[in-house]
Structures are given as C-alpha cells and as structure tokens.
C-alpha cells in the first residue's frame, strides 16, 4: 500500500459546487450515508448509497482520485470479503464488502472537498469543541487551531522525514537489511531525529504564535467566516430526512440481505 493511496484523502483546491458547500453540510452528508450503511446490510441499499455519491464525486471533480482510494481499499475489501465468507453467507460477505466501500467513499469525498481551514473554522463554531478546548487548553479556539496547525505541518514533516532517511542512509544505515528485530531497531535513528525536529518546529511555531498575539485577551475574531446558503439548508434538510427515514425503517421493518 503505497503513499499514493493517501491521495484519495487529500484536499484539492478547486471551486466546485461541492467544495463550496459548508463543511458542516458535507459532514451531515457523511452521516446521512453512514447511518443507513451501518443500520442495514442489504446489497441494494449499499449499491444505492454508492451510486448516490457518484454525482457528488463527478461534480466535485474528484472522481479520479476516488478511484485511487478504491484501489487502496482493494486489499482490505478482499480481506473483509474472505473473513465474512467464513462467518456468514456469501451474500452477506458481498454486502459487508460493499458497506466498507461505501464508507471509504464517503470519507474520501469529505476530505477531498473540504479544506482543513474550513474544517478548522467549522470546529471553531461547534459549541462542544469550544467547551472541551476551554477545559483542556484554556482557550475556546485552541483545539481547532491545534487541528489546523497539525495539518499545516504534515507536508513539512514529510519532507523532514525523507531528509532524515537520506541523512542516515548516507552514514551507512541500511533499512532493508536484517531480520525483523534489526529492522525495527534501524528505525530508531530515523524516529528520534524526526521526533526532535517536530518538537523543535512546534516550539518555534509556538514562539512565533505568541509573537503575533496568540491567543489574545479579548477573544479572537476571524477574517473569514462560514455561511450557510440556501443550497446548504436544502441538503441539510434532505440529509436529516434520510437519517430519520433510515431509523424509522430500521425500527419498523426487517430488511434482509438481498
């Protein structure tokens, strides 16, 4: 499973109608897919859920990268299928494998069309997150800020990781030789510098943050804000309906696998 598979979850800066939806709306879409997918094990339901996300993938122009994430999921899907063959009928195995793909697609779609920035803004507005943040870290926006900073550091630390590997290989470290124990020990010269570099970067960032007035006494304001538009409300309403109907059907009927 190469790093290429992570591409299926990386945000791409486009301005499609899907991208422009509020992150909270998109998250509700994820829930609206999750709920029926988990409540039912019916093959038709799974196929419907999968197909219903296709238009979103196409409008969001992320269909090709979604295909990549599916490829990544091939191994796990096969595993799920085989395991379920032993514990149930082959029909249920199909249904459960499809469920995995539905969930994968749903999360992939969310992360590809939602910028970490907007996620941070959304997190900032959620009361529960603010409360938790205030209790743990002392400031209401600290938690969402931690999230966005982590995302911001990922590409930088990825480069650092590669540099550390290069530097240690240049000292004769061979990562692909030796028995399992030796190989694990060989990662110590990689992990320690990387950890320390990450810590140093974070400390320097923290210094710079304080030097720009973070977190501020009066409470932060924000240049950008999330706005729920009519299309958001429509989709939210639709999603809530799906969730409601799913629960109602679940409690009133027994849906078989096929």
């Amino acid at each position: 499973m190469s790093l290429r598979t992570l591409e299926g979850f990386k945000f791409s800066t486009l301005k499609t109608p899907v991208h422009l939806l509020d992150p909270r709306t998109k998250f509700l879409i994820v829930i609206a897919v999750l709920v029926p997918a988990l409540l039912f094990a019916n093959i038709y339901v799974m196929i419907a859920l999968l197909l219903s996300q296709l238009p979103l993938l196409l409008v969001g122009k992320v269909a090709r990268r979604w295909a990549l994430s599916l490829r990544a999921g091939v191994f796990l899907s096969a595993l799920i299928f085989v395991v379920n063959l032993f514990t149930g009928s082959y029909l249920s195995a199909i249904a459960l494998t499809l469920r995995f793909l539905v969930l994968l697609t749903s999360f992939s779609l969310f992360f590809m069309t939602t910028s970490p920035d907007d996620l941070g803004l959304a997190l900032d507005r959620i009361g529960a997150v603010r409360w938790l943040s205030r209790r743990w870290l002392g400031y209401p926006n600290a938690l969402s800020f931690t999230f966005t900073t982590a995302v911001r550091l990922v590409p930088t630390l990825a480069v650092d990781a590669q540099t550390v590997v290069d530097a240690q290989r240049s000292r004769g470290l061979e990562l692909d030789k030796g028995n399992l124990l030796k190989r694990v020990r060989n990662y110590i010269p990689i992990l320690i510098p990387l950890l320390l570099i990450a810590i140093r970067r974070s400390l320097e960032l923290a210094e710079a943050l304080e030097s720009r007035g973070f977190p501020g006494k009066e409470g932060r304001t924000s240049l950008f804000q999330l706005k729920l538009r009519p299309v958001d409300y429509a989709i939210i309403a639709f999603s809530l309906a799906i969730i409601g109907i799913s629960f109602w059907v679940y409690f009133h009927y027994k849906i078989p696998v096929l």
């Binding site: 550390v164 530097a167 290989r169 240049s170 000292r171 004769g172 470290l173 010269p189 510098p193 320390l196």
Partner: protein, 280 residues
Amino acid sequence: MITLEKVSFTYRSGQRALQEIDLNLEGGDFIAIMGENGAGKTTLAKHLNGLLKPSQGRVLVDGEDTRKVSVAKLSRKVGLVFQNPDHLLFSETVKEEVAFGLKNFGFAADVVDNQVIRTLEALGLSEYAETSPFLLSGGERKRVALAAILATEPDYLILDEPTIGQDYQQKERLRNFILQLYSQGKAVVMITHDVEFVAESNPKVVLLSQGKILARGPADSILSKDELVKKASLVRPQMSRLFGELAKYGLPSDVVDVHRARILLEEKLSEAKVRVAQNS
C-alpha cells in the same frame, strides 16, 4: 575520482532538476557549487553518494556506476554532510554519535574507539565526548555532524551549506579545516551561497542555474562577472564591486580577495603619494 557523465534527473512529479551535467572530482580538489535556491545543488550532491540515481547519464565513483552499488557502500567513500545537523543526531552521547557510521561499516570495536577519539580531537569536541548532542549549541551540533561523517575518513567530502548561521570565527575554523582536508588529498565539495566565504577560500566554482552548469572556473573570474552572478541569484563579493567602481583607475576587475585587493591598491596609492610629493 567521481565522474558525472551527461547526468540528467527528473523528479517523479515531472520537475526537471538536472540537465546534462558533466563533472569530474578528484582528490585534492576543492569545489564550490553555487546557484540560486532550486538550482539543483542539493539534487546534484545526492547523486554523488547514490541517494539519487540519474534518469539519464551515469555517475561513476572510482569506476563503479552508482546505479549498481548501494548507498551504504558508496557512503564509505563519499561523505555527505547535510545542512541541518538535527536531521542526523539521535545518540545519547557525542561519542556514540560519531561511532555510528564506523559501526555501520563494520569496523572492529578498538578501531571505532580510536577513530572517535581522533576525530573528536581534530574538531575540538573532545570535552563533549560524554555529553548529549542535544544539549550543545547550534554551532557545536554542526561540528558533531561533521565529525560523524569525517570519522569514517571518506575520500570525498560534500558539505551542504556549512556556513549558514555561523559567526565569522566559526567560518574561519571551517576554512582552515577544509584547507587541511584537501591538502591531505581528499576532495571537498561545498554547496554554498556564501559569496564572501568563497571569495576568501578560493575554490573552483561551479555555477548551477536551473539544473544546468552555467559556468565553471576559478572563484575570482566567476564571481566577478555580473551577468553570471545575477543569473545565479548571487551578489558579487565586496572586493569585486569595489574594484568595479574603481575601474577607471586602471584596476583589474577580477579581484575578489581582500589580500590581493590590498596589494593592487598599495601600488596605486603609493604612486599617488609620490605624485603628491612631486607636486608640492
């Protein structure tokens, strides 16, 4: 000798980093590779010890093609000192850190110990042998990283931006050390954009720009040419700029070193003094 024959390199992303580089490196050479950020300097350095293999062309280290030899094996001959020492340091003591490379190459324990002591002494780090490298200052950590690579006595030493963040005294020490190394017969390659350091050390300069070799030659001729220097996002050394302004007094333009500048000016100024004496 390290030979680069028409080496081109393209990253997987499609970015072309090096184009048809021809270069030779042998013992006793002191070369400065200069160029703008993104010119391909570090990419070039990584080809010398096999970390990167050319997309086209080939790199020969003492006759062996780098595509056929492991990085570990090449690292015995080619020492690459990365810019940021924190990418290397992981041991509990400086002694262990310096011993790491030696152990990887399979040297006997007593040889390792001896080499460590010798290298620490050569770099003035003996007092820190039992200290944790993380407690040392930035400049000291840089020296520990250098010691770690030098301990295995590679024939070719590549330094990536060794002067960044160093004060003048530290740079002097580095210059003297480099002098020692190449007069001992090693080849020293320095990747740098520190124009004044190069002006004072007088290596052969290879100017890289956008993946191609723009020019190569002695430091004073390369660094005094405005068009070359501009293209590589560098600035001419102070002496060169000064002599550029004084060209009308019949002074040469390819001066980059303070001492040569002084000698030339002494002549002209003595002449002026004589004239003043004659006219009065």
